[in-house]
């Protein structure tokens, strides 16, 4: 695939992510903070998000496996997850976290378990999509081109 095709593919892919609600304007904001002096800013923040999310999802799984469910603890983790997903513009994950918190408040175990599954699912989708997008960007750069804004 030549450079122009790659660039077009990236733009289309990126547009679809916004269109389908995976990403919101906060992601755009992050891109605006990237420049020649900080060319990897978005990748760095998103990588931190991935690490943090994996930790939180582990904690959530463990917490929901306990004999006695500690809803306050779960809510605290979900609150963090909601915050970090909001900060990078991972809109679907953020919205699920809001639902998740409602179930925590209602102390609804079934609801929480279901939400955990859903949020894991949504997270893995957005992770895959972001990684694909970053890979496209790398391909463009390796081909000597520049990443379209």
């Amino acid at each position: 695939m030549d450079l122009v095709q790659l660039q077009r593919q990236l733009v289309d892919y990126r547009t679809s992510l916004y269109h389908e609600g995976f990403l919101d304007e906060q992601f755009t904001q992050l891109k605006e903070l990237q420049d020649e002096n900080n060319p990897d800013f978005v990748v760095e923040v998103v990588s931190l998000f991935f690490e943090d999310s994996e930790r939180l999802l582990n904690e959530l799984s463990k917490a929901l496996e306990q004999q006695v469910i500690d809803f306050k603890r779960i809510d605290a983790h979900v609150h963090q997850f909601k915050g970090s997903s909001s900060s990078i513009g991972a809109q679907r994950v953020q919205k699920l976290c809001i639902v998740f918190r409602n179930f925590c408040e209602a102390q609804n175990v079934e609801g929480c378990l279901k939400c955990l599954q859903q949020v894991k699912h949504e997270y893995s989708i957005v992770k895959t999509k972001l990684e694909s997008m970053f890979q496209l960007e790398r391909q463009i750069l390796n081909a000597g081109g520049s990443v379209p804004v």
Binding site: Q29, E32, N38, L48, K72, D75, H79, G89
Partner: protein, 224 residues
């Protein structure tokens, strides 16, 4: 959530950074950013740097107080030249909330003039009101944007910092006292809980508003 071992490294890194750029600290606004979220710290740091601010980012209210030198046990160690021009802090943090940090800063005769801005993902009117009444300059609803940072930078004009202006905001009437000599019980002043949506925090981490042993565990003063 704070990462173990992260603090020592961070302090060292900050030392190096400030030593290297000591010569040009004079004109740049120095912001102390406080947030327990790693992702948010990274973002706020970038937002501030791109707005031509020097940034020190810490992961808790306690560390913020240590950096300021308000914690007697780990004093500022010669960071006195690195004046903080603005504090921006997350509201919901384990241990000491942003509100509690705000109060401590405003209670300090040395630091009360530093403008403090609160960030929160939750747009709760009572929370905002409380913070403003306690002397916060502004309240930003997360996620923080570049336009927010550009706005708060205006709070740090030298004229403002010197404290000539007395804002119409109600500040607690207190005699000024040196915070470093106060007993641990001062933390009890933040005992009134929010009536709505308090900060979610893992129960195992004690709130700084507790009166006894959790406070001692936090080692706020050297009277241990």
């Amino acid at each position: 959530m704070a990462r173990d071992g992260g603090v020592t490294w961070r302090r060292t890194e900050k030392i190096d950074r400030f030593n290297l750029s000591a010569t040009d600290t004079a004109e740049e606004v120095h912001v102390l950013a406080v947030d327990d979220s790693l992702v948010d710290r990274k973002v706020i740091e970038r937002l501030l740097r791109i707005s031509s601010c020097k940034v020190t980012a810490v992961d808790s209210g306690i560390r913020a107080l240590q950096f300021l030198g308000l914690d007697e046990e780990k004093s500022s160690n010669g960071f006195n030249d690195l004046k903080v021009d603005l504090i921006i802090t997350d509201y919901c943090m384990p241990g000491m909330t942003g509100y509690e940090l705000l109060k401590k800063v405003k209670e300090s005769s040395t630091f009360r003039e530093i403008p403090v801005v609160i960030m929160s993902s939750e747009n709760v009117l009572t929370r905002i009101d409380r913070c403003l009444k306690e002397g916060a300059e502004d309240f930003i609803v997360k996620p923080v944007k570049l336009s927010d940072v550009k706005r708060i930078k205006d709070y740090t004009t030298r004229e403002f910092r010197v404290g000539e202006k007395q804002g119409p905001r109600k500040r607690k009437q207190r005699d000024s006292f040196d915070l470093s000599s106060s007993p641990p019980s001062i933390l009890s002043s933040s005992s009134s809980p929010e009536s709505q949506s308090p900060c979610p925090s893992p129960p195992s981490i004690p709130s700084a508003s507790a009166l006894d042993s959790p406070t001692r565990r936090l080692k706020m003063t050297s009277s241990e």
